[in-house]
């Protein structure tokens, strides 16, 4: 706790600097500091409580709540796409369930809250980001390339077929952040899980080992989420008469 109290000196330095420069954000920094303290402490106590619950049902319930929140957030990036919440929910759930399922089946992790909740959170968060990017892009592609889609519809193409090239391009683009991360990991950027373990005093090789598991896990979950999402994305843009919605 003394470390935490001492670290508030850094906030004081920041506030003093912005006040000297009269940037007018000193009050916001202080508010943000108090808010983040309360939020994170609340999460800490909540996790302590959850980790104490050994029953898997509670962990699954918590993960489901996280998926609902993530799906709702991803939907917000594609307001013009009807049914985005349902598509997000099914996609994120599939990516998360399949990845955690494989990890449990292969004995990579135990079915304990200290594994399932943080790893599940990482999977859900990353899948949400990738899906949001993909939704945003596919929505703008449909808007810009309406003619291309209608040209395919005019030849009797199904909505899924007509929109396929646009979805493929969008999904491909959404992989870019993850592929970039894999290129620079450990060289330019120390990833979160590894940094956390090093700060907690873990052996660096152990930290790297866990980080690699995390990366592989995220590759699989994002891929599954994106592909499931791509399968259903087209539906929201068309009506039953195979017409593009206005």
């Amino acid at each position: 706790m003394s470390q935490l109290i001492a670290s508030t000196v850094l906030i004081v330095i920041a506030v003093v600097l912005v006040e000297i420069k009269r940037l007018g954000v000193g009050r916001d920094i202080l508010k943000g500091t108090v808010r983040s303290f309360i939020q994170l402490m609340a999460v800490g106590f909540a996790l302590k409580f959850i980790f104490g619950l050994e029953k898997v049902q509670y962990q699954v319930l918590l993960l489901l709540v996280m998926v609902v929140v993530a799906a709702y957030t991803a939907r917000g990036r594609a307001k013009s796409m009807p049914g985005a919440f349902k598509v997000s929910f099914v996609s994120i759930l599939s990516g998360g369930a399949a990845t955690l399922g494989v990890m449990l089946a292969l004995g990579i992790i135990d079915a304990s809250p200290s594994y399932l909740i943080p790893l599940g959170g990482m999977i859900i968060g990353n899948s949400m980001n990738a899906l949001s990017l993909s939704f945003e892009r596919v929505s703008s592609e449909v808007k810009q390339r309406r003619g291309e889609v209608e040209a395919a519809l005019c030849l009797g193409a199904s909505p899924q077929k007509a929109i396929e090239p646009l979805v493929r391009r969008s999904v491909k683009a959404s992989f870019i952040p993850m592929l970039n991360l894999m290129k620079i990991v450990g060289i330019v950027q120390m990833p979160g899980a590894m940094t956390g373990m090093l700060l907690a005093g873990a052996d660096p090789v152990d930290a790297v080992r866990i980080q690699l598991v995390v990366i592989y896990m995220l590759v699989a979950s994002t891929t599954i989420t994106m592909l499931v999402g791509a399968t259903f994305t087209y539906r929201g843009f068309f009506n039953r008469a195979w017409q593009l919605r206005a």
């Binding site: 003619g147 209608e150 040209a151 005019c154 030849l155 009797g156 090239p165 008469a241 017409q243 206005a246």
Partner: protein, 239 residues
């Protein structure tokens, strides 16, 4: 109803975002002829054409295709039988051949690309060419070839020459007339150009502000307009 009618529209209206785009249109499209949809820019011509292959649906009224209500026909079957060429030739990534065979591959139809290129007047050597290297005129020919490859009964053309130079425009007009003669196609051609309507059309419907002004033989309509609005349009007062 006319036995030779391909399409028959009665009291068709269409609104979008609260604005009425087409108002109580009655129209019959005869088989095997070129029907012109004529009118000033923004009068609702394209909106009318889009109803015929169900890219859009009317808000009220009835459209019949070959005697059957349009909404009762499977959309895929309808769009294979009623081909459409859009104003801008949106080609898919790939070669000319990929584009010509796009619909046929979708529906498992066998077609000889050489036959289509001969029909449309595309040099066979162009088949392997990437579509990104084509001129607008060539692209529009490919988009017509792509629609014709499905052997449609009807071909809808939405101002297909609007972005073309005079030479390419004449080529496309000759192509359309040739296709109607060679294949017995029924053709619905949207244009705002009076001379083009005269060169191409048999029958015509004049649309102004979403309403039908006249519908009859195009030559009669252009030489002896029966409505004051037709006269104003022909005099260039409504463009």
């Amino acid at each position: 109803m006319d036995q030779d009618a391909v399409f028959h529209l009665s009291q068709v209206s269409m609104a979008r975002n609260g604005k009425e785009i087409l108002k109580n249109i009655d129209w019959t499209v005869p088989a095997g002829r070129v029907s012109i949809v004529l009118g000033p820019t923004g009068s609702g011509k394209t909106s009318l054409l889009r109803l015929l292959n169900r890219l859009d649906d009317p808000s009220s009224g009835e459209i019949r295709y070959m005697g059957a209500p349009l909404s009762s026909i499977d959309v895929r079957d309808l769009r294979v039988e009623v081909g459409m060429v859009l104003q801008q030739p949106f080609l898919f990534e790939g070669t000319v051949l990929d584009n010509i065979l796009y619909g046929c591959r979708l529906h498992g139809m066998d077609v000889d690309p050489a036959e289509i290129t001969a029909l449309v007047g595309i040099d066979e050597a162009m088949l392997r060419q990437d579509v990104s290297t084509l001129s607008v005129g060539q692209s529009q020919k490919v988009s017509i070839a792509r629609a014709v490859a499905l052997r449609p009964r009807v071909l809808l053309l939405d101002e297909p020459t609007s972005g073309l130079d005079p030479t390419s425009t004449v080529q496309v007009e000759e192509l359309v007339s040739g296709l109607v003669r060679a294949l017995g196609l029924t053709c619905v051609f949207v244009t705002h150009r009076i001379e083009q309507a005269r060169r191409l059309g048999h029958r015509g419907i004049l649309i102004i502000d979403g309403s039908r002004v006249e519908e009859r033989e195009i030559e009669d309509m252009l030489s002896s307009p029966a409505d004051e609005r037709t006269r104003r349009f022909l005099n260039g007062e409504l463009r």
